[in-house]
Amino acid sequence: MSKTLPDAIASPQQVQILRLEIGRCIDLLNEAARRKQSGAVEISADLKSVLGANEVSQENLKKIDDLLAKTSTWQVVHLQLPATPAPSLRAKLAGWFRDNIKHELLISFELNSNLAGGFAVRIGAKQFDHSFRSRLLQGSGAMEKVLAQVLQGKPNAGK
């Protein structure tokens, strides 16, 4: 099944922005048609990538808008990261989710600096915390063993 959205377009926010842009472009094209002017408008790279993924030209922006409207029924995975991901990482993560979990999926990237590292995934009410913070807190019991070994002077303490 071909993707409706390229991996670079992952989050619901991006979809909304695209739909707004499409709406603006459609308005501009209609205005140009009314004035009998050329119908080319400048579009963003994201919109270009969507048009390219669906092999649609600018004249069929409404079709893209309809496709984008359908994404409102898609499930959303909330991915929390300790820092803002680069566009390449966002695309990589979105691509993994759509290739391995479900094609029709939106990924919402959220910033949570308390994680210290790693990530957390929230799907509905369920959360999977794979952050460094949770691993450190869960491993505090191991700290006791390490301390005990250090105090006893055992070699390879903590290994």
């Binding site: 300790p82 990530f119 369920k126």
Partner: protein, 205 residues
């Protein structure tokens, strides 16, 4: 008590002896008087009888008897006095000895009683000391156990909290400057490991 009886017996004996002496003297006098009266009566009743003893002789006899009686009385009195003095001395001595003995016995009893009281006090004090020592030992053991338990509790709390403290420090230290690019491999690998969980969560949503 035996000494009293002995002394009393001696006094009674001496008194009896003196009484007998006096009685003997008085009897002699009575005999003499009786003899005189008999002689007189006999002479009056039988004038023909000549008195055997002449009045002068009789008077002499009376004098002799009186003198002997006086001497006997004096001797008896002297010996009574001597025996009384001796008896009194003996009694005094015996009373003194008896008093000393009684006092000594009472003192001995008093000392024995004091010794018993002292020993009872010492024993009681020893018991009290032993119970105090025992209680002190029990309290020391309890205190040692409490201190050890508290120490263990504190160490456990420290061990538990040190992990959280170190974790909080690391989180705070790592909070800024996170490089997601360096973590991307870890993120992808972890996602791959937990793929099934994520799929199941999406299906159940």
């Amino acid at each position: 008590m035996t000494s009293y009886y002995i002394v009393f017996g001696v006094i009674v004996a001496l008194a009896a002896i003196n009484y007998l002496c006096l009685f003997w003297i008085l009897r002699l006098q009575n005999l003499v008087k009786a003899a005189e009266s008999t002689a007189k009566i006999s002479h009056e009743e039988h004038p023909s009888l000549k008195p055997q003893i002449s009045p002068e002789k009789l008077a002499e006899l009376n004098n002799k008897i009186e003198k002997q009686a006086e001497a006997a009385i004096e001797q008896a009195s002297t010996s009574l006095k001597e025996s009384l003095d001796k008896s009194l001395g003996q009694v005094g001595q015996n009373v003194g000895d008896l008093s000393d003995k009684i006092i000594q016995d009472e003192l001995t009893k008093y000392q024995n009683a004091l010794e018993e009281v002292r020993q009872a006090s010492v024993d009681k004090l020893s018991e009290v000391q032993a119970s105090i020592d025992k209680r002190r030992s029990e309290l020391e053991e309890a205190l040692t156990a409490d201190v050890a338990a508290e120490k263990t509790k504190v160490l456990e709390r420290f061990d538990k909290q040190i992990g959280e403290i170190v974790s909080a420090y690391l989180i705070e230290a790592l909070g800024s400057g996170v490089d997601l690019g360096a973590q991307s491999s870890y993120i992808m690998a972890t996602l791959e490991q937990n793929k099934a969980e994520i799929i199941k969560a999406l299906e159940n949503e």
